[in-house]
């Protein structure tokens, strides 16, 4: 296949460009000097004044871009993209008691949300029951409290699990939450092949960034891959893992690091699954991804496009995948929580809109938009509704969803996509040389890279090299606005009491011999290195609590303590 621009055309453009630089540009620079000496993206990529075909020499359209739904999938994984179906509007939500969350989910569905995404509270995320001493004061605040199957039944009361898909942002206890979800679906009479959704189940980024780890890296990966293997065989519609860059970015990385570390995590998981004797084309189509969409608009779009191209290449060339679906990078996107400010908080609606637009122009499969009040607390109904409406306006009013990959062919976008890709490969090579991501994590490599980048960014803001409206530019002394944000009222102590009462009732009414037996089964299976999923599912059905199952696994595998790196 030929090049996009032939050598003669490039030569001509170069000549004219040189002439423009000599004759036109100086006049303009004399009249107005540029705002800054140099312009850089958030990943510190130097942005030139102007992009032309000269920046894409030897650019081969078919190699770099091709057509949507064809290798290397730069332009998107589906042939018609949003002309066929708008992305899934999936708002991350959950707070308080299971009853509160059930109400919130129904509210969002009634306003046009098309997929669910559950946020769990901290005790649940790190595998503690609500009555654990370390859970005091944290039950139901950051998400919904889930201790046992009873709680999951309440969350999905009146919601048809055969009709809607659910993402669960859960990591070490992922097999337990998945077991609860399936058990409720079983009760609703939904056949297993119809149960759809996602478990985040991505342990490596916990060590790198999100820090809700429990077990050390090796057993953490083992348990996560148990879920993937079991799910591929038993739940054909389930996405058993969501390989996540989001938290890496929120912890302070830049776009290139986010992309590179996420792919390196993915590579590690693929190797583990292949080592289990699975065929790459049997499991790869079920792998899914999750990215951040930050405020540096074009760089984010470039990142999403580069991500698809790189993953397709990794799957095809490194792992010999043959099915096209194995090469698809399907991803969810969330706008950048870290970009929101407590100052002049209504401006956050605008930031989220721009970030959401970048995600859509980058070809995301599903999207969460943050609410304006999130620098303070989990969102109020009103704030969550505005965030959802933001997506609906992008989808139905702006026309950006009417053609596939509309920014392709922009000299800048294509140049930047190449730049992001090239820099991400360099990171991946470095991690490969360390022996893969587990080794890199144990050495603290990605953790240190992220700490350095986030500190550098903060310094740049303080030195007015980067601007945040309301923080270091256009600031206001007295902020009436900040007090006008209506915040969600969480009656934490009441929620804690509800959960404690329910746990007490559960522990006194269930068959405790049976529970003990099922926990023993898990312990034995773990000792033998068996796939834990069937044993955990059994224990969940016998009403063992999340904390009890996690304690059993903690006994077997121990707990991770990280050396603080800053």
């Amino acid at each position: 296949m030929g090049k996009l621009y032939n050598d003669k055309a490039i030569r001509e453009i170069k000549e004219k460009y040189t002439a423009w630089e000599k004759q036109v540009l100086p006049r303009s620079l004399n009249r107005y000097s540029e705002r800054m000496e140099s312009f850089t993206t958030l990943s510190n990529i130097n942005v030139k004044r102007l992009y032309t075909p000269i920046d894409l020499p030897d650019y081969n359209y078919m190699d770099k871009l091709g057509f949507p739904s064809q290798y290397p999938f730069t332009r998107g994984i589906h042939a018609t993209m949003y002309r066929g179906r708008i992305w899934t509007m999936r708002m991350f939500s959950g707070y308080g008691s299971p009853e509160d969350t059930n109400k919130r989910l129904k509210f969002l569905i009634s306003h046009g949300e098309t997929g669910l995404s559950l946020a769990f509270d901290y005790p649940t995320l790190v595998g503690l029951d609500s009555d654990h001493p370390m859970a005091r004061g944290e039950v139901g605040i950051c998400g919904v409290a889930v201790d046992s199957l009873w709680d999951m039944e309440i969350i999905f009361d009146g919601i048809d699990m055969g009709e809607i898909t659910t993402n669960m942002t859960i990591n070490p206890p992922a097999p337990i939450l998945l077991s609860m979800y399936i058990s409720v679906a079983d009760k609703q009479g939904v056949p297993r092949e119809k149960v759809g959704g996602t478990t985040q189940n991505d342990p490596l980024k916990e060590f790198i960034a999100q820090k809700s780890y429990v077990f050390p890296p090796e057993p953490a990966v083992k348990i996560a891959m148990d879920l993937v293997e079991w799910s591929v065989k038993n739940l054909p519609k389930w996405n058993p893992i969501s390989i996540s860059g989001y938290h890496i970015r929120e912890a302070g990385s830049d776009a290139v690091q986010e992309l590179a570390f996420t792919l390196a995590d993915g590579i590690e998981y693929v190797r583990h699954l292949i080592d289990r004797g699975l065929d790459v084309d049997d499991f790869a189509p079920r792998l899914s991804f999750f990215f951040d969409s930050h405020i540096n608009f074009f760089e984010e779009i470039a990142k999403f496009r580069a991500a698809r191209r790189m993953w397709a290449k990794i799957m095809k060339e490194w792992f010999g995948a043959e099915k096209e679906r194995s090469m698809w990078m399907r991803f969810h996107t969330q706008t950048a929580g870290v970009s929101l400010t407590a100052q002049q908080p209504f401006n956050n609606i605008v930031r989220t809109t721009i970030e959401a637009l970048a995600a859509v122009l980058g070809g995301t499969q599903s999207l969460h938009t943050n609410s304006l009040d999130e620098p303070f607390r989990v969102p109020s109904e009103l704030a969550a509704k505005i965030a959802l409406r933001t997506q609906q306006i992008i989808a139905y009013e702006t026309g950006v969803a009417d053609t596939v990959d509309p920014l392709a062919g922009s000299y800048y976008i294509e140049w930047l996509t190449d730049q992001v890709e090239e820099r991400a490969w360099r990171y991946i090579e470095r991690i490969e040389r360390m022996g893969g991501m587990i080794e890199a994590v144990k050495k603290g490599y990605p953790q240190r890279e992220i700490a350095d980048t986030s500190y550098r960014f903060q310094k740049e803001v303080e030195e007015n090299k980067r601007f945040i409206v309301g923080v270091n530019i256009f600031t206001e002394e007295e902020e009436e606005e900040i007090r006008n944000v209506p915040l969600l009222d969480i009656k934490q102590e009441d929620i804690e009491r509800v959960q404690l009462d329910r746990l007490k009732k559960l522990r006194s009414s269930r068959d405790s011999n049976k529970v003990a037996e099922k926990l023993d089964d898990i312990r034995r299976a773990a000792g033998k290195g068996l796939n834990l999923m069937p044993y955990i599912l059994d224990a969940v059905k016998s009403l063992a609590t999340l904390g009890e199952i996690m304690d059993t696994l903690r006994e077997v595998y121990g707990e991770w303590r990280e050396p603080p790196i800053y």
Binding site: Y122, K211, S212, T341, A342, F376, R377, Y455, P563
Partner: protein, 145 residues
Amino acid sequence: MERTANLLRGRGRRIKVLVAKLGLDGHDRGAKVVARALRDAGMEVIYTGIRQTPEQVVSAALQEDVDVIGVSILSGAHLNLMKRLIDLLKKEGADDIPVFLGGTIPIPDIPKLKEIGIKEVFLPGTHLNLIRDYILGVVGERKEH
């Protein structure tokens, strides 16, 4: 910077700060950035790492004999956790150690936190210099007593 130097001379040792992640949340970007900035400003910084209980934070503060405690919480559990922290400090007779808090804190909670005994609350977007100057100020005051 000049002020830092003066303080150093007057005290015969560097200002010692405990930066603590209290509770279960793992959002450590802010705590680490603050820890590094204070270290770069010439202070001695002890960072606890994540998932600390009030008991662990108080015990670290006493053992290390710190001048000030900076706590980071982004889980929303600040009222409960900070109350317990201050109660423990009081119990140990160490409530003269100034405690400040950073994180995602709803505005209406700030007066409640100050009532509990938290000296200052920093919201997202706070200048690092402001935190440094705040510490120089409170440690200076404390020394004069």
